[in-house]
Symmetry: C2
């Protein structure tokens, strides 16, 4: 058993489940009778020695309960790419001296694939220079695009939001006798997992969405128009990923306007649905509109997936255990067993960091405009159950730092 | 007591509570042992003799329960302006002969202020030509802009969605250390009730939204910039109505692009938040984004206001009673009593039809960028409580025609 204290931080884009994972890490630390510090704004909190003592607030179980259903990163987040240690030795020394100052020997980093690169680098540095800090990554991302895990914490809640919203919007579309087309834009720059989850909106009372386009397959304007012409639905609902590309590999959203880039060089996309809307409006001349589900996909926690929240707590706890057992440079993951349960596994951070898992061909219909039954079977268990929400004055109660 | 059967129809934009009102009308008819027909797609269903027998489906209480939490108009809707009887005598004769065909003597029309014009016209015609059909309007609109009622069925659920979404988005905004501005666009063409409801997002853990702009007060770009400069929040959240106008009375959304009009001559707006985003991005050069809450405001029923749903059932029942007592050309309404309960009242349709109730000055801060405590006191009771949602495969179950 490693001696010393825990630190934990959260990074990357928020999700509805990232605080459930934080709950798990805190509970893991408490179950070992350890002190646990939260670094504020991800690795920047460690660099700037900005830590908060989590023992006081979360010895109160009511606060743990609130934290579990509070969306977005309680500790704040960052989008910061840690430079290579060769390029900034002083920065690494600062990080480890700040850990030492608080007797932190175990650091749990909750984040996406960019953050797992930080886990890999810090762990390698700690080993090489005998810093005695064990560093474990716990994944979170609504994008579900991490390698070597069945799925990611946060995806199930986002998928449930998308399926629920699409089913509600489909009812809104169906009320008028006149034909219409509604294009719904769903997050996912290069991986279409969340857009694929829109298929879960289908039920006995609605077959919307009628067409589903993922970024994994190129989509020519000609094919789009043919697909729409072949669709018999009076009030058509089309789910498109923000990152759909045409046959030349150009983003639809690029066809409309210039784009900016975030700190990692990712294109900041918006508007693929608007572009599709305009194409179809011009071609068919019927009522056409577009809806961006936008940030609610990652922060609408009041109808989160209970399965996702429970698994997120579990993987956070397992991360704390792994660190205390002296594991480092690893990323926790899920392995699906039976129908349906989950085992927690560990991967080397090098097998996760900076990689992207796309939706495989077996989950995409041969017509490239829908998902397969295999995808539905994969996704359905992840969205089951609802959390108990504590409300105050009619809206969900949250906890803030 | 009037003899004969009931008919009911739904009109205008969908809401999360319009089917709860339909439940009330059905229950009202059943409690009198009457047959009740639903006209499909509003008054168009009456014109086209497209009726569905509601007795079969809804003698099953499970279906009533499902209907109560199914968003959007179960019977379909229309946006159809009934011409004056002087201009189309044949149309009116067709309507009343179709009523007669099914022995319909009581017609309940659930809709907004445009639909109440239909109630007024049909009732006047029935009286004038002794058609013996009693016509009662029951209001619904998320806009809360009907005269002579404390509030409208559907507003409470939309207000709860807006407050909840803004509180969740505010948490999403707060995670990064860098300053940012998020502009959230809320429905409401000329009346800012729903935008005002964003103030309910404030809690012990968040003071967002920091600025609230309603269409009732003109907003110069200069004032907007001054307000933002004076705001001390690091991660600012601004709630704007889709219909905000500048000091010349021009829609912000018009400043960006051309607009189309709907069948009633209403401007089809979108993009006021995008325009504000671009103004602030250019001025302040910090991370700025805009989010349109879009149609989810009126169809996101899974976290509806239980108060709203219960009141919607109650007013639907009262509408059925009023018609069976021989009242006609009236619109049902709410009167607030005590702290907090509701009496059902009736108004002449002429006092409701085609009129708009705007947010009064007493509910708008003197700085024109916030609401007053009086507004909070008014709005808070309307968003209380949550419905029990029946789910199937992880998403809310709906009922469809």
């Amino acid at each position: 058993m490693i001696q010393g204290n825990f630190a934990v931080a959260q990074s990357g884009g928020p999700t509805s489940a990232i605080n459930a994972t934080l709950c798990g890490v805190i509970e893991g630390a408490f179950s070992q009778g350890r002190r646990i510090y939260g670094a504020v704004n991800g690795i920047l909190g460690v660099i700037n020695d900005s830590f908060t003592d989590l023992n006081i607030t979360f010895s109160n179980m009511d606060n743990i309960q609130l934290l579990k259903t509070t969306p977005s990163a309680y500790l704040g987040s960052c989008r910061y790419k840690l430079p290579a240690s060769e390029d900034n030795y002083e920065l690494y020394e600062k990080i480890f001296s700040n850990f030492k100052k608080h007797d932190v020997t175990m650091f749990i980093y909750i984040g996406g694939n960019d953050s797992m690169d930080t886990v890999r680098k810090l762990s390698a540095y700690s080993k090489k220079y005998n810093k005695g800090v064990y560093i474990v990554g716990v994944p979170k991302t609504i994008d579900n695009d991490l390698m070597n895990t069945d799925h990611t914490p946060g995806f199930g809640s986002a998928a449930k939001f998308v399926a629920t919203a699409v089913s509600e919007i489909a009812r809104d579309c169906a009320v008028y006798a006149d034909p219409s087309i509604t294009v719904i834009e769903i997050m996912g720059r290069n991986a279409g997992w969340l857009t694929a989850a829109s298929a879960l909106a289908r039920s006995n009372t609605s077959d919307a969405p009628h067409l589903i386009y993922l970024p994994e397959k190129q989509l020519s304007v000609e094919k789009l128009i043919n697909d729409v012409e072949s669709c018999k639905a009076r009030n058509m609902v089309i789910a498109v990923s923000e990152g759909i590309k045409n046959e030349n590999g150009e983003y639809f959203s690029n066809l409309a306007c210039n784009i900016s880039h975030d700190e990692f060089g990712h294109a900041q996309l918006s508007g693929s649905a608007r572009v599709v809307e305009n194409i179809l409006k011009e071609k068919f001349g019927i009522k056409t509109r577009s809806v961006e589900l936008n940030v609610l996909q990652r922060c609408s926690s009041h109808f989160a997936s209970r399965t996702d929240l429970d698994e997120s707590v579990k993987i956070g706890k397992a991360g704390a255990s792994a660190a205390s057992e002296g594991m480092s440079g690893i990323v926790m993951g899920f392995k699906r067993t039976g129908n349906y349960s989950i085992d927690i596994i560990t991967n080397n951070a090098t097998d996760v960091a900076n990689l992207e898992k796309k939706v495989p061909d077996s989950y995409i219909s041969r017509t490239f405009n829908d998902v397969t039954d295999d995808f539905i079977e994969y996704c359905l268990p992840l969205v089951q159950g609802e959390p108990s929400i504590i409300t105050e004055k009619g809206i969900p109660k949250h906890i803030a730092l």
